[in-house]
């Protein structure tokens, strides 16, 4: 493997190789003006080269950083490649970040250049630039609304490429020379981890990290150059960078950029990807969508669907648990597949999927089983930004419910004395940019501390229990795993987010966010009128609804020997949604437990008193960065003791 890699050790070299080898094959598709527009590998190479020339004409030198911000667009992937071709380092940013977050990262990464998708991002970057004078040049793709802007150092991608063409006249081999100077140990990208604690940290990944891990995973999972993937996750997330960029280039498959964030589901159906990657949040949304639409169907259809879905899920659960399958169910399953599961899978745009991953955080077992029952090969992937994503993946045909699978080839896993998962692999990052302290805390002799508590079972499968620091015990010593409970709660279409509390307390409680779409639909069908999210969340009927869901979780908890003592005693429904703009969850939608505990301290205290309602006042941040105050009265519900 290393012999092949030795001459093709950076992405610019690999793309040039692809342009020669796969020239006319499609590399990127983008839905624009209602039509899927295709770009070949030759286009990929050619356009990134032109962008690189343009950047060079503006004085881009080796080591410069380019901030890349916007939805998934071919041009932005090309900007990433162009930066790398010149020996620079791309820094992809979350497109929904507010100005403050952008400012922190642009400043910390010392970005001189920025490539933005449209006016919205340019407006943010122009304000960022006032505080980060190091940011000189801002390039934008979509000129709409920007024609009248006359700020210095602001230019369109078309203008940049034009400048590049002129520059090329005097320097015909400039980009090729720069590409030749690059090597596998150079930093390829800095991915800022959203971090559930503290400020973001910039993980530096080398070309060798990304290319080797991409290749290892592609070989083990059998990726092919005729695979199709949907590039719809934030470009700043390492998952998208690995799949839509690194793996697509290494394996030579095509990625497809949706028309807009609002059309992803429709585009998914049109493309029918064979390789699909989604965090649990997306799977949850898909499931909620299905269940809500099902509730609107006529009752014979609904009954039939529920029956066969139930059957398929029961079978899948037994299969994953290695239990025997009842004969009647086995006989009925093909009918169910024909009538319900197959059509539903097709309707979701998932008929052609060969490999699908859920990653980012733990997925609720019920959600996982649901999609597998439809016949979709969803597998759990355990990974981290610092590992170039891949640590462990469930192998085809060896998927279990309670583990995240076996380590990838060339990845070693070890469990520390404290029960923390440690690993070592070719993907282990170079360190955090300008943060040696954090690097020291994370890496020890080449082993990365994952921060997760887990163990390897007798068959070599890795089982993750919870975040090491989240795992706790109740006041009486009962084991309590918050994430585990939360995932069970979130299986309900009505529960969008849940935060469970318990360590050091006498019993377990939960803060719950309802799903406005699903609960709103439920309320409308029952003729329950509501005016706003806050109003709906505090309806006694909604509390009754959620109470049933909590009782269901408690009942399923009885099956687990270790965790059965940690049943939920009380809950309340939050008056507002947890929002990344309020720093309550990260941009990748992980709950920032510490912050939530602090912010909602009065609510949490009330859960451990005899009160049945509590008044809250909360600051909210609007999308444009302004803040306001919301005041509400929140009810507390106690579950009847059995």
């Amino acid at each position: 493997m290393s012999t092949v890699a030795s001459s093709l050790d950076t992405f610019p070299k690999l793309v040039r190789h692809n342009a020669e080898r796969l020239g006319r094959r499609v590399a990127v598709r983008e839905k624009d003006l209602g039509i899927w527009q295709a770009h070949t590998w030759r286009d990929y190479h050619e356009r990134s080269r032109r962008i690189a020339l343009g950047l060079a004409s503006l004085g881009f030198v080796r080591g410069d950083k380019t901030a890349v911000v916007g939805d998934n667009r071919p041009e932005l992937y090309w900007a990433v490649l162009a930066t790398q071709a010149l020996g620079g380092v791309p820094v992809p940013l979350y497109q929904d970040s507010i100005e403050k977050e952008l400012t922190y990262i642009v400043d910390h990464a010392e970005a001189r250049f920025a490539v933005a998708e449209d006016q919205e991002q340019v407006d943010k970057l122009l304000r960022v630039r006032q505080q980060c004078p190091r940011l000189e040049v801002i390039v934008y793709d979509d000129p709409r609304g920007l024609r009248t802007y006359s700020e210095p150092g602001l230019l369109s991608l078309a203008e940049l490429e034009e400048r590049g063409e002129k520059f090329a006249l005097g320097h015909p081999t400039y980009v090729d020379d720069e590409v030749a100077r690059g090597g596998g140990e150079d930093t390829a990208v800095i991915c800022y981890t959203s971090g559930t604690t503290g400020t973001p940290k910039g993980a530096m990944l080398s070309y060798r990290n990304l290319i080797e891990m991409a290749r290892i995973a592609a070989e083990r999972e059998g990726l092919r150059s005729d695979d199709e993937a949907l590039a719809y996750l934030p470009m700043a997330w390492v998952g998208d960078h690995m799949l839509s960029y690194a793996q697509a280039i290494v394996a030579g498959f095509a990625i497809n950029c949706p028309e807009s964030a609002a059309t992803v589901l429709a585009d998914l159906k049109e493309i029918g990807p064979t390789y699909f990657f989604a965090p649990p949040r997306i799977w949850e949304n898909l499931l909620t969508n299905v269940l809500v639409r099902l509730e609107d169907a006529a009752w014979p259809k609904r009954r039939l669907t529920h029956f066969f879905l139930g059957l398929a899920q029961d079978l899948e659960r037994r299969r994953l648990g290695g239990q025997p399958l009842p004969r009647l169910a086995r006989l009925l399953a093909p009918i169910g597949h024909l009538l319900v599961c197959g059509p539903l899978r097709d309707n979701l745009g998932m008929r052609r999927i060969r490999i699908a991953y859920t990653a980012g955080e733990a997925i609720g077992p019920e959600i996982f089983v649901f999609f597998r029952a439809l016949g979709i090969n969803v597998k759990q992937l355990y990974g981290m930004t610092e590992a170039s994503v891949f640590v462990a993946v469930q192998e085809d045909g060896d998927v279990r419910l309670d583990t995240v699978g076996t380590p990838m080839p060339e990845v070693e896993i070890r469990i520390s004395e404290t029960g923390e998962v440690l690993f070592r692999s070719p993907g282990v990052f170079q360190g955090y940019f300008k943060n040696a302290e954090a690097t020291r805390q994370t890496v020890e002799d080449g082993w990365i501390r994952s921060g997760d508590a887990g163990f390897l079972d007798h068959a070599g499968h890795l089982k993750i229990i919870d975040r090491a620091r989240d795992l706790g015990r109740l006041a009486d010593g009962t084991m309590f795993a918050p994430k585990y409970l939360e995932n069970k709660l979130k299986f309900s279409p009505y529960v969008k987010e849940a935060v469970t509390l318990g360590p050091g307390r006498p019993y377990v409680t939960a803060l719950i966010n309802i799903d406005l779409g699903a609960v709103g639909n439920w309320a409308e069908r029952r003729g329950i009128a509501y005016t706003s999210y806050t109003d709906l969340s505090q309806k006694p009927e909604v509390y009754d609804l959620i109470q049933q869901e909590v009782a269901r979780v408690n009942a399923s908890l009885l099956e687990d020997e270790i965790l059965r003592g940690a049943r939920l005693r009380k809950f309340l429904i939050l008056h507002k949604e947890l929002d990344p703009d309020d720093e309550e969850i990260t941009r990748t939608r992980k709950v920032r437990r510490g912050y939530v505990a602090q912010k909602y301290a009065p609510l949490i205290e009330a859960l451990y008193t005899d009160r049945d309602r509590v008044t809250v006042e909360a600051r909210v941040t609007y999308e444009d960065g302004r803040t306001g105050t919301v005041r509400a009265e929140v009810a507390i519900r106690e579950l009847p003791a059995r």
Binding site: L33, G34, E259, S260, A262, T263, A266
Partner: protein, 268 residues
């Protein structure tokens, strides 16, 4: 179509009056809208704003005065003729084909630009086919521009109000107008929808150079996006000028906020 004069105002309304029975809805209103301008027509309820718009779009005809568009007198034209001249409009109460998809609704905006025989169009053959493809491409640009890709195939009647307004704007734009008349484009919208609509109006003006005349009640919006404001009250023009200047005008303040003896001034 006659070649439009390159200089001078695009729209010239010269002392027009309209009477409904005993009510003088417009009383010698004169105003002009320059090329590439965003002009607002404001005023209290019943001031005659929509009547003025209806006159410009040929729906009503004034009994005195003249309306000139691009230097040509066109006081007496009917709505289709006005539309053919390059004036498109949206309505105060959304007027979409509720059962048709958003795409089809916007395509109707291209109707005037479609040529060719009925037979060829029915067979979707030859020039008719090429034409339809070209029109569809144009409509797709508008869909992209107004960010309504996700509802392309949705029946218009199923959309929330704010989006219906946006689809109406799209249909008006599909006619490639020189002058766009918007009757309360932001009525009944929430703050976010209003901000979106403001951005679209500014972008339409900036990107296509379309001249826009709009009726609006939200003074914040008017002051923010309009170059030029005309104030009507009881069918008469009481102020005309730059937004800043109009805001300070005493007659305008009186009309909007009332004066000391409002009941005597306005007999029912």
């Amino acid at each position: 179509m006659t070649a439009p004069a390159r200089s001078g105002p695009l729209l010239d309304v010269d002392g027009i009056s309209v009477r409904f029975g005993a009510l003088l809805a417009l009383n010698r209103v004169t105003l002009s809208v320059g090329r590439g301008e965003i002009a607002a027509i404001i005023g209290p309820n019943g001031a005659g704003k929509t009547t003025l718009l209806n006159c410009i779009s040929g729906f009503y005809h004034p009994f005195e005065g003249a309306i000139r568009f691009a230097g040509q007198d066109r006081t007496r034209l009917r709505p289709p003729e006005v539309a053919a001249l390059g004036i498109a409009r949206t309505f105060q109460n959304v007027a979409l084909f509720r059962g048709m998809s958003v795409l089809d609704n916007i395509m109707t905006g291209r109707a005037l630009a479609m040529r060719g025989s009925f037979l060829l169009q029915a067979l979707w053959w030859g020039p008719a086919r090429r034409q339809e493809l070209a029109h569809r491409a144009f409509v797709e640009r508008i869909i992209d521009f107004l960010e309504i890709q996700a509802i392309r195939k949705t029946p218009a009647g199923r959309l929330p109000y704010g989006l219906q307004k946006r689809v109406e704007l799209a249909r008006a734009l599909a006619a490639e107008p020189q002058l766009l008349l918007l009757d309360e484009p932001m009525a009944g919208m929430n703050v976010e929808e209003k901000e979106d609509m403001c951005r679209f109006i500014l972008d339409v003006n900036g990107e296509f150079g379309t001249t826009i005349a709009l009726i609006e009640h939200d003074m914040g919006v008017v002051m923010d996006i309009c170059d030029h404001v005309v104030v009507l009250d009881y069918g008469r023009k009481i102020a005309d000028g730059a937004a800043e200047q109009v805001r300070k005008d005493q007659a305008v303040i009186d009309a909007y906020l009332g004066v000391a003896e409002p009941l005597q001034r306005r007999p029912a």
